[in-house]
Amino acid sequence: MTATTDAPTPPVLAPPPLTGEDTARSSDRSRVHSARLGGRRWSLMWLLVGPGILAMLGENDGPSMIAYAAVGAQYGLGFFVPFIPVLFAMAYVCQEMCMRVGAVTHRGYGQLVLQRFGASWGWFAAADLTLTNLVTLVAEFVAIRVGLAYFHLGSAVAVALGLVLVVFTFSGGRYWRWERIVLGMALFNGLFLVAAILVKPHVGAIAGALDFSPFPGGSFNTLLLLLASTIGATVTPWMIFFQQGASADKGMTPRDVNHGRWDTAVGAVLAAIFGVAALVAGAALLTHNGSGIQGFAGAGFPAALKHVAGNAAGTAFALGLVEAGAVAILTISASTAYAAAECVGVAHSFNSSPREATVFYAANFGIALIAAAVILIPGAPLLSIALNANVLATVLLPVSLVFMVMLANDKGLMGRWANKRSTNVIGIAVIAFVGICGAAYGIDSFLQTTHIIGS
């Protein structure tokens, strides 16, 4: 921790015993060191990017992209075009804190909450994460299935693809390898931009929507649902666990914080562009009464897009869904693995071998396996699970964010890297906004369901 390293270090301190994880991380750090010494700015940037882009593009996952497209199909271009970038700006504030805490303390979120605030808070956080991750992972497999259905491939292929990818990416026993493979895959999130261009949108209409108008109509509850699910499509508990854990696993240090900020900012910008692109592609269905949304469980959305804008647009959207689901399976499973192993107090790194970090790898594969099994259950309510995944994440998010802000303010841990007042003001505003939207939807829906108030 910085608080301890800030103090003058005795000159003759014996180095701690070196583990395989240390050796692998140190090898990566030696390249960073060499690039920094040689003044190779772009090489240094290349070596240090990863966790931020992966957290942001990982959150542009299957259910999120379908949610954006569904909003476009239902409401057209309007309020949500500028609202999505605003949400990613909020996500940047939260994720920058995660990166900074990970780089300064070299510890994951679950580990710090558990040790700093007590076991019960750590386990609560891990339980929240496991619940939302399981629901979200089911939705990711559904998204892959929807994408593959466009090519007449079934659930079994979706399950096999997801699970093979999980095993393949951690087979190398190195964080660097895992990160680069997933990063390479994540860039294909740009397929949504291709789909948006192929539907030939009216550029003037997109520019005209930047003034947050028209505001979506419909009932108050529908508006709350849209807000809650769109927030859940940009900031979620798994991103917090993932980015802090990955930043520590990558070996980032306080010297890398500025590069980490760039990494997170680039991720947020790309995710906002691709998210808006999915909405624009979906808006092409507006004039066709939003046809295709109801066919979510089948190949509905890409097929509807093909009908409206041609085969290329449908193919790009379908492949985008496969990519979005696959990348999210990898990042969300990884966040579960970090949380589980950190809370148990055992090795939690992609730089450890499966033998050294059994809990980490077992949690990583296990949660993906359970989610995969759910989508193979005949008659399982996959559509409802997929649509509610983001809302549940929004409802559970405020607790994770509060602890994140507390950690980032902890001078004992963070020293001079602790939050500034301006960051706290924005952070607290984000927590309040997310909390109010999630709670308002939850309470309003419950009161309507129990007929305490009319719809």
Partner: protein
């Protein structure tokens, strides 16, 4: 016989020198690796728990209040979700 013994000793010395050189190389390599990690980045260091912070009563009560509120709202969302299935 003497010549054979001398040759064998020479080989043993040579092998020992190579082993020593390899060991030194390995140690130098490990030293260089260690140089690229901050001391508090080592697994041995990060495995050490950080001291627990003492939360004030107000902060503890606020955190429990938020936790209970979030659980209640989550139950509402899950109830609504199950109801919508029918």
């Amino acid at each position: 016989m003497k010549t054979e013994t001398a040759a064998s000793d020479h080989h043993a010395d040579h092998a020992a020198a190579i082993a020593e050189r390899d060991l030194q190389r390995q140690e130098r390599f490990e030293d260089e690796l260690i140089m690229h990690l901050e001391r508090d980045q080592f697994v041995a260091e990060t495995s050490r728990p950080v001291p627990r912070v003492a939360l004030s009563k107000v902060a503890t009560a606020a955190l429990w209040g938020l936790r209970v509120f979030v659980v209640i709202v989550s139950v509402m969302v899950i109830y609504t979700f199950i109801d919508q299935l029918h």
